[in-house]
């Protein structure tokens, strides 16, 4: 063996020389060892991860809850408290039965003022915009039938154009107090209707998408929410907004 050969420390088989013409396939590892290795590695990884998870999870949840809470607060104009209502088997309830699948259930967040009177319902929704799906949350007053506010949760719209739907404060402000169903109008074509929202020049598609999202969401659930509202609701004993799997 020449010293020029790579010396590979600790290599399992060790490159023992076997002449130019003889060649053996590298030895196979016994099957049980393969199983054991991967199983052990998996188990160890599971152990490590569960530890990290336990440490980080509360923080992540807390952050998510805070973000959602802020969004709800913003679109409802600062409620004193908010409560999550789930739609379980076609009925809305703040306290779903324990065996209900709340993770995938539709939900709304209802805000109450200091007196415990409901001030509005926050609904989240998403639809394709110009680039990809835009997700927003908006506040709705089922009594008056007006939108109270809108906030973009997630969008990949073009920076500088489409992202005006979240960054352009005049556009965002337009959603405070507009009558539903909303009507989008291009600049200079407004007729003074209460339902009008001015589309953003250069981002007509993105801004129209917001209007469509709100209108569609209300078309689907508006009636039920209004019924719920009319049925008279009061804040249940403290249940924080549940961020999990909101759609």
């Amino acid at each position: 063996m020449s010293t020029r050969l790579p010396t590979v420390e600790g290599s399992p088989e060790g490159p023992e020389n076997d002449g130019p013409s003889t060649f053996e396939a590298p030895a196979r590892t016994a099957s049980p060892r393969l199983v054991a290795t991967l199983a052990l590695a998996g188990a160890l990884a599971g152990l490590v991860l569960v530890a990290v998870h336990q440490w980080t999870q509360p923080r992540i949840l807390e952050h998510q809850a805070r973000v959602l809470q802020e969004a709800v607060t913003e679109v409802l104009g600062g409620p004193e408290s908010t409560h999550t209502y789930f739609r379980v088997e076609g009925a809305w309830t703040a306290r779903p039965p324990a065996d209900a699948d709340t993770a995938s259930a539709d939900r709304v967040y209802i805000g109450f003022d200091a007196t415990g009177a409901p001030i509005g319902v926050a609904l989240a929704a998403g639809e394709p915009g110009f680039q990809d799906i835009i997700r927003i949350i908006f506040g709705y007053d089922p009594g008056a039938g007006v939108v109270l506010g809108m906030k973009v949760l997630e969008s990949r719209e073009t920076p500088g154009l489409g992202d005006k739907i979240e960054k352009d404060s005049t556009f965002v402000a337009e959603f405070r107090g507009v009558t539903t169903p909303l009507i989008g109008v291009k600049a200079g074509r407004a007729r003074g209707d209460d339902a009008e929202v001015h589309l953003i020049t250069g981002a007509t598609i993105s801004s129209r998408a917001i209007i469509d999202i709100i209108n569609h969401r209300l078309e689907a659930r508006g009636e039920e929410v209004r019924a719920l509202w009319r049925s008279g609701i009061a804040p249940p004993p403290t249940v924080p907004a549940d961020p999990g799997g909101e759609r």
């Binding site: 110009f130 074509r189 007509t204």
Partner: protein, 348 residues
């Protein structure tokens, strides 16, 4: 016999068969009169009426924007290209075509940048004339549209008089100026976002908002016919584009006339005519085979209709051409001519 004699690249000496040296040049010794510079300059000249027309419609800005684009293109060719490559006329033509696709109010520095990017990234990087994949003018325009979407979709109203100055034409490089142009919506924008149609007569004559070169379909068609007659463009390309656009849009228009405009509007609005006649036909970036030309043209036509009818943008000519440019090598590969004495399908 040790005096130095000439090497293989010897220069010429006295002409005359007896005594002097004969020349050895490979056959054939006859040559058609067409040459690459002649093609390029001819196309450029046929575009000049269009430049004049756009100046008439949009004022001096038009001339300034076009000149800036030409300056950018020629400057880049000069700085980065092979020495003296400017004289073959292709860079000037690229700049001119780029200029014709821009709005009249564009800051001039952007037009210069577009020309530079078009030639630099769109052409010289590939080895210069003849080697590029994408239409350099459209690469420049696509770059500008993606970089400065607002400026590229701000269309001044036409017919504000000769010699008007609009927009932030003279903004400093890298900065925007004040926007004070009287802007209007283009016919395609009106159609897409307001479902308002513009009379075809206005489109044909060219007094609508839009880019500089969209002004007159008539001049473009005349130029195109002349060039096709001279065999400087492959007539199959514009014919297939326009036929597919007309056919598809008529069919879809019949289904929902309110939402989808019909063939005349589609043919004469936006950049379709300029694109079909002058940009899709760029020899370098279109298929070299005739059957490929049909496929390529049909593809552009279909994409224009797709983007205009269902896409997010009001106009899709530029993207359609760029996208089909990308397909050209594949189309060329797939449409090799059937060699004499072989059957089609035999390995080409």
């Amino acid at each position: 016999m040790t005096e130095r004699r000439d090497g293989p690249r010897a220069g010429r000496e006295a002409a005359a068969v007896e005594g002097g040296r004969l020349a050895l040049v490979a056959s054939p010794h006859l040559k058609s009169p067409d040459s690459t510079p002649r093609i390029m300059w001819t196309v450029t000249i046929t575009l000049l009426p269009l430049v004049a027309m756009s100046t008439w419609v949009f004022g001096v800005n038009a001339l300034l924007v076009i000149s800036a684009a030409v300056l950018g293109a020629v400057g880049a060719e000069r700085l980065l290209g092979a020495g003296g490559a400017i004289r073959d006329g292709s860079a000037a033509l690229t700049g001119l075509l780029l200029g014709l696709t821009l709005p009249a109010s564009l800051p001039l520095w952007m037009a210069v940048l577009g020309g530079g990017v078009g030639i630099g990234f769109g052409k010289l990087l590939f080895g210069g004339l003849g080697q590029n994949i994408f239409n350099p003018a459209l690469v420049g325009r696509a770059f500008l549209q993606a970089a400065f979407p607002t400026a590229l979709t701000t269309w001044p109203d036409p017919g504000q008089g000769w010699g008007i100055w609009t927009g932030d034409l003279f903004a400093l490089p890298f900065f925007s100026g004040r926007v004070d142009a009287v802007t209007g919506a283009t016919p395609l924008g009106l159609m897409k976002f307001e479902e308002v149609s513009t009379p075809v007569r206005d489109l044909f004559v060219g007094t609508t908002a839009g880019s500089l070169g969209e002004t007159s379909a008539l001049l473009i068609v005349i130029g195109g016919i002349y060039l096709a007659y001279r065999n400087y463009l492959n007539w199959r390309i514009p014919v297939s584009i326009l036929a597919v656009v007309a056919g598809l849009s008529s069919a879809i228009h019949a289904i929902d006339p309110a939402r989808f405009p019909g063939a005349p509007f589609m043919l004469f609005s936006g950049g379709l005519m300029l694109g079909a006649v002058y940009m899709a036909t760029d020899m370098v970036t279109s298929p070299v085979t005739n059957s490929g030309a049909w496929i390529y043209g049909a593809g552009i036509g279909a994409l224009v209709v797709l983007i205009r009818f269902w896409g997010g943008l009001p106009e899709g000519v530029m993207y359609a051409i760029l996208f089909m440019n990308a397909f050209v090598p594949f189309i060329d590969r797939a449409t090799q001519p059937r060699v004499f004495g072989t059957r089609r399908g035999a390995p080409a």
